[in-house]
Point group: C2
Chain length 223, copies 2
């Protein structure tokens, strides 16, 4: 569940652990709240499995790609270059790059029909939906919708609970209903996108639900 986030971020370029966490919290902080205690073991696990590999931390074009560490303005850079000989920066940060096996593993995780189905897991999957084929996207949405409908059906909204507990259950059920409505919107958008793709020209640069997504499908649809 965390391997997916790491591999998905690393697909856009090599990063080190601290920066992975920074970006995950900045961009997907609402969805995945990852901590160091899980991130570094996950990176070690992925490296042992051959899904990622550690670069030698050359920090040649890495620091230029990371404006966050910035504030090195000329004189600072010279001072730093004089102090740090060769290939070691502040604390020898380990920069990871995704391998081919890691790309395959990412596709497997993203496309997996089983696994845990809590809201954070789905949110993470859907935030990488640009790497899925349109049919897989639709399947993922409808699978998730069926799960939520089942959850709503299992709600007993019984009156034997005190008002506080009942309030919690009611609010949670409202949240699930809101999720279902959201999924319905997404499903409709995906459907119209697919029909637009099939009926119009191959290159239709506007009015698509997936506008702005590069490489619309690089993970095979295995179902």
């Amino acid at each position: 569940m965390l391997d997916l986030a790491i591999l998905g971020l690393l697909k856009e370029g090599p990063l080190h652990g601290y920066e992975i966490r920074r970006r995950l919290r900045a961009q997907l902080g609402m969805v995945a709240n990852v901590s160091f205690g899980s991130l570094y073991p996950a990176l070690a696990r992925l490296e042992a499995a051959g899904d990622v590999e550690a670069l030698a931390s050359e920090d040649d074009e890495l620091t230029t790609a990371l404006p966050s560490t910035g504030s090195l303005s000329g004189e600072r850079a010279a001072q730093r270059a004089k102090r740090l000989v060769g290939a070691r920066g502040r604390r020898s940060r380990k920069v990871y790059r995704v391998t081919d096996a890691g790309t395959a593993h990412f596709a497997t995780l993203l496309n997996a029909s089983s696994g845990t189905d809590d809201s954070r897991s789905f949110g993470l999957r859907w935030s990488f939906a640009r790497h899925l084929a349109p049919s897989s996207r639709l399947a993922l949405l409808e699978r998730r919708r069926a799960q939520l409908v089942q959850r709503l059906g299992e709600t007993t909204d019984s009156e034997l609970l005190d008002p506080y507990a009942r309030s919690v259950v009611k609010h949670a059920a409202d949240g699930v209903a809101s999720d279902i409505a959201w999924l319905d919107d997404l499903i409709e958008a995906e459907r119209t996108s697919m029909s637009d793709m099939s009926t119009s020209d191959r290159i239709a640069p506007s009015a698509s639900a997936a506008r702005g997504a590069n490489s619309p499908a690089d993970a095979g649809a295995n179902n």
Copy 2:
């Protein structure tokens, strides 16, 4: 986080593990989805800590208090009573009862201002809010509200995300906003309840937000 649920359920009467899980999923399935792999270790942990103690499984007034196991209609009951001599039932189920130390621990957990603050933790806490003093209830609500407001503020809703990820972040932010609105309603209800309590008679059996809750405050307000 699970100790709270177990102790809260056990406050209403002794139960065995399987039944604890059954009730938690039936009543608070939206909030706490507990599994055996965490429930039984938690029970053993609580027993080792002295917060609960195991009864000898007499199943005299326990099975009568559990209509779920039912369908024992006369003849079945006689057959069963003949078969099972004395104090052991189907699989020697261990019935737990909360101790005084467990009650104190429950109050501590419920009243704790620190600890994890995810939505499931708060939902569980609030579903036992009848055991809190009104001032503690209000403090809990406003603490949670401040956390959610901060979460919303940290959202960057940046446009550098692709439409799929942006949709997830947007929907999550909407959910947080909905939670804040819900909390505002609860805060207002608690405030009016407190002012009603202070301005009207001591015994006002109707028009209270906490109507139906027995023993309105048995956990001390420690803050």
